[in-house]
Amino acid sequence: MRVMAQMAMVMNLDKCIGCHTCSVTCKQAWTNRTGVEYVWFNNVETRPGQGYPRRYEDQDTWKGGWKLNKRGRPALKAGGRFKKLITIFSNPVLPSLDDYYEPWTYDYATLTNAPLQERTPVARPKSLITGKDMKISWSANWDDDLGGSAATSEQDVLLSEVSQKITFEFEQTFMFYLPRICEHCLNPSCAASCPSGAIYKRTEDGIVLVDQDRCRGWRMCVTGCPYKKVYFNHRTGKAEKCTFCFPRVEVGLPTVCSETCVGRLRYLGLVLYDADQVLEAASTPDEKGLYEAQRQVFLDPSDQAVVREAERAGIPRDWIEAARRSPIHALINTYKVALPLHPEYRTLPMVWYIPPLSPVVDAVRDTGHDAEDHRNLFAAVDALRIPVDYLAQLFTAGDPAPVDTALRRLGAMRAYMRDINLGREPDASIPEAVGMGEEEMYDMYRLLALAKYEDRYVIPPAHAEQAHRLEELATECSLDYEGGPGMGGSGPFGETSGGAAPIAVENFHALRDRQTANTPAAPTDKATRVNLLNWDGKGSPPGLFPDRPTDGSSDADRDSDGEVEPKP
């Protein structure tokens, strides 16, 4: 047993109102910069719908994630390191800007500058790529609320997998919102895809980050990630992704998307898992077994054997305590209402979802007077507008049973609580019918319905003694890095000199630049480094090519079948 701690998230889709506050605050905090105009670390998709980027779930096209090779071991769908190296200069399989969307802005200034004229002034959209006028034909969220369903619904990748025919008729309408961030997988295919070893999974909390110093812009990670949550910054020429807001998490604060969530649907906390079991879980032959296999990787933080091993592995005492109080552990393993997103990608994602209830298709309760009567409710679960099959394609590789269980538990919770709410004797048979005890059901109600801030976010701060290894809690002068202000400004040799600014500092500078820039779309700082778009192909500026392997082990790693050891 090799115990590791993972910071994870659960989103309760039953509560998402589709307001996109998470997207906006995330964008404002992290990607409101040149080069990442089109990038939304957090986005919210209306389902059914194509998602962002379009049809990202179509792995036949995009080759993201893992498949099992002939030896039954996970191999990158896009091919392993050997294939990557021999094709390193050819275009990897990745979505074009058109698949995301062509970002734009408006000539807002004309509204204040326009001279007296016959018609009222109007701010027209201008492409942020070409600078020219454009007719907007796709956006970061084009099909919001089933917009354009007549034209594009059929493009939903899941539809081909769902057994029952889904028709886009008014009477049969259903929809729900799916907020997405990076999954911070236990078995991240982005990291495994990177020829430079720039993507790493932090040992302390499992957050997956891109080392901006080491990234060489090969973009294999964009291909490797089946969720398409690694993005290419076309200005710096480097990969960027959701950081799980580690500067906040390290000091015990929720991520920006969680903190600002209006529906209070996000939960943050630790899970303990057995790193030795990851490979085996990812190798589960039957895709439908992956949900259960991944659950088995998690360890019970109340188990004394686990606690002993965790302490031996150097996990601090308060982290173990936090793992015990973790809402994530409760929702995934105790109540079993949270499910992983696309477990069939075999990355063991760490952002899980509670599937949403929905209105019943038709009158199924003509007999009962009591809308909350659990007998009626169970009948209703079978008649929900969102086909269980559709949810199963998202969360359980098509197995309807776990989805059904989760939905029934949510329904039963309401039926059980109604008696309590009305001051009646609670009915123990209701939780029993869904395999739960009364106290357990009441606790689940507290966590899901009352959802207090301190119960939703159980985030142990990083430890001072580990701080030296972490990004945010600097034990030295935080500005004292190569090229930083503490070192007297940027280096003398143009754009190939200097290292990456630590991210929080970079953000501070980006903010200042924005506040002082004359043009919103084109900051004038030259603190960028290797920019493939500017490289004239002559010479090899330091940092452009991956370092040659020096430890001699790379040959052993190489696997003609694309097999890569899961990280960490």
Binding site: W104, V122, A140, D145, T173, V360, H369
Partner: protein, 946 residues
């Protein structure tokens, strides 16, 4: 949770059931649900809890006289509430006897005048009796069991496909009281809803599946499209849950049902459901109203400062809908008379009158405010009176009677009656709220506009209101706007003052959505040339005062004030019998049959100084909210120390409100919700009237006074106060009317109870004495627009709805790049797949929507979640972002309100009678626009021009 929505809206996803009622037909669904509840929970089975509630808290047991119908001898129409004045002897001699409504006691069968009617609210005899304590009286809900033979009553119906009026003939049990034939409101309600009892004459539904007789589940199915069985089941569940939970069934309603011409009838049909089931005044139950009606919790202090009631009373507060209806000349385009809306055979008061005539009538009778009031300057009128040596009111009445002076509303197009200066303070009038936007542009501003309507033909023009052959264009001389972004209003303004945002100034915030009052604080100072509103208006006031020295000086002004709610003014119209002095039906008496005429001295040179100080009227008169007057001496003394005292000028010696934080401090100190001392004081005052215990509700916080610093530190929960009807004592959450229900405090109505029945003449004429279904206006019949569903060269005709956008507060945030990047990046109209197919529109095609009111250019969003026959253009998409020129006019496309216009329902202009009396932000005509239709088509040229 049941969602009623014409489309699969964002909120529907959270519901257990979705009822896709046709737009504007919610009232029909609610009427059918009422039918089921009355039948199953009142008639088939007596639900003790509901009946008990009905007896105590509603007008259901009160007696209504029946008048023999003119056209059909032997049948009757509901008349007026029987009052003490109709009884013999002592009762008739009681103070305000005409406002003491009567019910029957179950034990004696005799008429009883219970406590708590309007007759107890004012005057000496009612002191200590204005409460809902019935004592030993047990009201009879029904007139059943008397000696009289039941009679048939004629009731109105409007459910014909074209909305025209029809009649129902249904029986009620009756009794004879004081020589009059009477029945109860309950009996009338059962007749109206078509719930039959044995032995009653008339035509009744054969059962729930009777699709022809209103108001059965099957009847509504044809109108709403909601399956009859589902409607019945949900009604049953609604009531059963209320019974089981003690009144915790709730209807949350939004703008979707608020903005219809007949939204008041929709409301009343909803309220019937929550009131019959005893849900009003219960936490977790009742009617959660449209959130657009904000709640200023510290209302007393706020009103005092906002209306300058510390220096001058009364303020001129106007009903905007009527104001814009006249001054943007929309009245000129109304080709039908007000009696078009009347019940069959009952059009009397409206015969031959246009809406403009009815507005003028309401104004001259003192029902609703009207500004500008007269066709002469009120300053000059005061001078003329002085010159003539006569009291101003007397002089004006005399001038009016001679016809030498007229109300301005009787000639809105007379240049002397134009509004000349308009200040728009952080309201995007021309980008959001101006219903009939193109009429505003054409007549008020005089710019290019896309009005395509024709004026009313000569025989359909106003009679009392002057018709000028040339419609004026460009009435305004100056349009001033204060805003922090460029909007469709600022681009048309003469002067724009850059304003600070919320995060750049001090302010107070409170809403009805949470129980707190909290502060806005500047994160940064107002950047560039921007100023806080407080600063901007003080600067204007200072310069105005300086210039006033040579121009205006000190003058006497006369204010025509309407008859106000929560004052004895609401006793002006006994039985709601309308008398128009201009028609010779009575004498013009200010404060009774016409507006109050109040002389106010104005020192125009001291406006700025007065703005910076709390004036002396607060010492002498206190401040009054909803009939409770708060004495403020202690608070003013406190504020002298807290804010400091003004040393010189008009405000010398007064507490300072020279800075925004001072004003916030004063508002908090002078409101019961934020000052426990005032809350208890107000309750003690109220106790003297009700004779019941109330002050204990605030006693736990008597010593608590919320300061501005408190609100800066954290949002502060407010204190239970007579300013509002809910209790927050002991930390419970606010819910309206809990004090009424739990402490037997009367509602501020005629009976003191919640009303199903309204007996005002105008409501009788409209056929709306009781809850009734009225369909959306028939725009084909009224305005010659094509029928919904018609497809021609110019496109398909559809219902045009303008719901709120999920990402913006009216036009605010609509133009934000992030929000635009997360949507379609410009103006859009949502269409159903079917409608799009009819006119060859594909998703993201440029479309053009055209009706007589204007033209809109937008891109289509085609979705199967939209119902056929209806399009949505989300509210307040400014004309500034990606709006091309239209094919129809070549001009810039309009905003969502370019296709709408104002239409005013006459009954909304009623005043001077009990709860139907004017109060600011409480009663007045609605701005409604959902009845509108439009043609929509694909643009021939998809390469649009800007």
């Amino acid at each position: 949770m049941v969602a009623v929505s014409p489309d699969y809206a964002d909120n529907v996803k959270f519901a257990d059931e979705w009822l896709a009622a046709q737009p504007g037909t919610d009232g029909a669904l609610a009427m059918a649900m009422g039918h089921v509840i009355l039948k199953e929970f009142f008639v088939d089975r007596t639900t003790a809890q509901f009946v008990d509630y009905a007896r105590k808290y509603t007008d259901l047991p009160f007696l209504v006289t029946l008048d023999e119908a003119d056209r059909e001898p032997g049948t009757y129409t509901p008349g007026k509430f029987l009052t003490a004045a109709d009884l013999d002897g002592e009762a008739a001699a009681a103070e305000h006897a005409e406002f003491r409504t009567v019910l029957l006691d179950a034990a004696s069968g005799q008429p009883v005048v219970p406590n708590g009617t309007l007759g107890d609210r004012y005057g000496e005899s009612g002191a200590g009796k204005w409460n809902l304590d019935l004592g030993d009286t047990r009201p009879l809900l029904s007139a059943e069991g008397g000696d009289e033979t039941p009679v048939a009553v004629v009731l109105p119906r409007f459910d014909a496909p074209d909305g025209s009026a029809g009649r129902l003939r249904r029986g009620v049990p009756v009794r004879r009281v004081a020589g009059r034939l009477v029945t109860t409101v309950y009996d009338l309600l059962l007749a109206q809803y078509g719930v039959v009892r044995e032995g009653l004459p008339g035509r009744w539904p054969a059962g729930y599946d009777d699709a022809h007789e209103p108001y059965t589940p099957a009847w509504q199915a044809a109108i709403t499209g909601v399956d009859a069985n589902r409607a019945a089941r949900i009604a049953r569940e609604f009531a059963a849950n209320a019974e089981e939970s003690g009144g915790r069934s709730m209807i949350v309603m939004g703008a979707g049902t608020n903005h219809w011409f007949h939204s008041d009838t929709i409301y009343r049909a909803f309220l019937t459901l929550t009131t019959l089931t005893g849900c009003q005044g219960v936490n977790g139950g009742g009617w959660a109203h449209y959130v657009g009606q904000e709640k200023v919790r510290p209302i007393t202090g706020h009103s005092a400062i906002a209306t300058a009631a510390d220096w001058n009373r009364p303020a001129r507060l106007m009903i905007q809908t009527a104001y814009w209806y006249l001054h943007s000349d929309q009245f000129r385009y109304d080709p039908f008379s007000a009696d078009t809306l009347a019940a069959a055979g009952r059009g009397g008061p409206f015969a031959g009158k246009t809406t403009a005539d009815v507005i003028a009538q309401s104004a001259r009778m003192g029902w609703m405010p009207s500004y500008p009031t007269f066709d002469r300057n009120p300053l000059d009128l005061a001078d003329e009176a002085a010159d003539a040596g006569r009291p101003v009111a007397e002089y004006i009445v005399d001038e009016l009677k001679k016809g030498w002076l007229r109300f301005a509303g009787e000639d809105p197009d007379g240049p002397e009656n134009f509004p000349r200066v308009l200040t728009v303070w952080r309201a995007n009038l021309l980008g959001a709220s101006a219903k009939g936007n193109e009429y505003f542009l054409k007549h008020l501003l005089g710019t290019d506009a896309s009005v395509r309507a024709t004026e009313a033909p000569p025989d359909a023009r106003p009679k009392d209101v002057v018709w000028r052959e040339e419609a004026p264009e460009g009435k305004l001389d100056l349009l001033l706007t204060l805003d922090f972004r460029m909007t469709s209003t600022t681009v048309f303004s003469d002067v724009v003052l850059p304003a600070a945002t919320w995060y750049e100034k001090h302010d107070l915030s409170s809403t009805d959505m949470h129980p707190f009052v909290h502060a806005f604080n500047p994160a940064i100072a107002p950047p560039w040339q921007t100023r806080t509103d407080f600063d901007a208006f003080h600067t204007i006031a200072q310069e105005f005062s300086r210039q006033a020295a040579g121009h205006l000086g000190v003058r006497n002004d006369v204010v025509a004030a309407p008859l106000l709610h929560d004052t004895p003014d609401e006793l002006a119209t006994p039985h709601g019998r309308v008398r128009d002095w201009k028609a010779g039906e009575c004498e013009p008496v200010p404060g009774r049959t016409m507006p109050k005429l109040i002389t106010v001295e104005r020192d125009y040179t001291a406006v700025a100084e007065k703005m910076g100080a709390l004036g002396p009227l607060l010492d002498s008169s206190g401040a009054t909210t909803k009939g409770v007057t708060f004495k403020l001496e202690r608070e003013l003394e406190y504020l002298r120390h807290k804010n400091g005292t003004v040393r010189t000028g008009a405000g010398a010696g007064r507490p300072s409100i020279a800075r925004d934080v001072h004003a916030c401090e004063a508002i908090l100190a002078m409101s019961g919700t934020t000052n426990g001392h005032l809350a208890t004081q107000g309750f003690h005052t109220l106790e003297a009237r009700t004779g019941t215990r109330l002050a204990d509700l605030a006693a736990e916080h008597e010593g608590k006074q919320i300061t501005f610093a408190d609100t800066q530190a954290a949002p502060v929960p407010v204190i239970t106060s007579p300013e509002w009807s809910g209790s927050e004592a002991g930390g419970r959450r606010y819910s309206p009317f809990t004090i009424n229900v739990e402490r037997l405090k009367p509602w501020h109505t005629l009976t003191g109870r919640q009303h199903f029945f309204l007996d005002h003449d105008w409501l009788s004429a409209l056929g709306e004495q009781l809850p009734v279904y009225r369909p959306p206006l028939n725009m084909s019949a009224l305005f010659d627009e094509p029928q919904i569903g018609e497809t021609g060269e110019l496109g398909v005709t559809v219902r045009y709805l303008t719901p709120h956008n999920k990402w913006s507060i009216h036009s605010e945030y609509q133009d934000n790049l992030f929000m635009l990047s997360l949507s379609r990046g410009g103006p859009t109209i949502w269409m159903s797949t079917q409608d799009a197919a009819k006119v060859g529109v594909e998703d993201n095609d440029w479309v053009e929507a055209v009706n007589r009111n204007g033209v809109v250019a937008a891109r289509a969003i085609v979705s199967h979640r939209m119902p056929e026959g209806t399009v949505y253009m989300h509210h307040a998409q400014d004309r500034l972002i990606d709006v091309p020129r239209t094919e129809t006019t070549g001009r810039r496309g309009g905003i969502h309100n370019s296709l709408t216009r104002l239409l005013i329902k006459p009954s909304h202009l009623i005043g001077g009678y009990a709860q139907l009396s004017y109060a600011f932000n409480y009663l007045g005509p609605t701005g409604n626009q959902r009845d509108e239709v439009t043609l929509i088509r694909r643009r021939a040229h998809q390469d649009v021009e800007y």
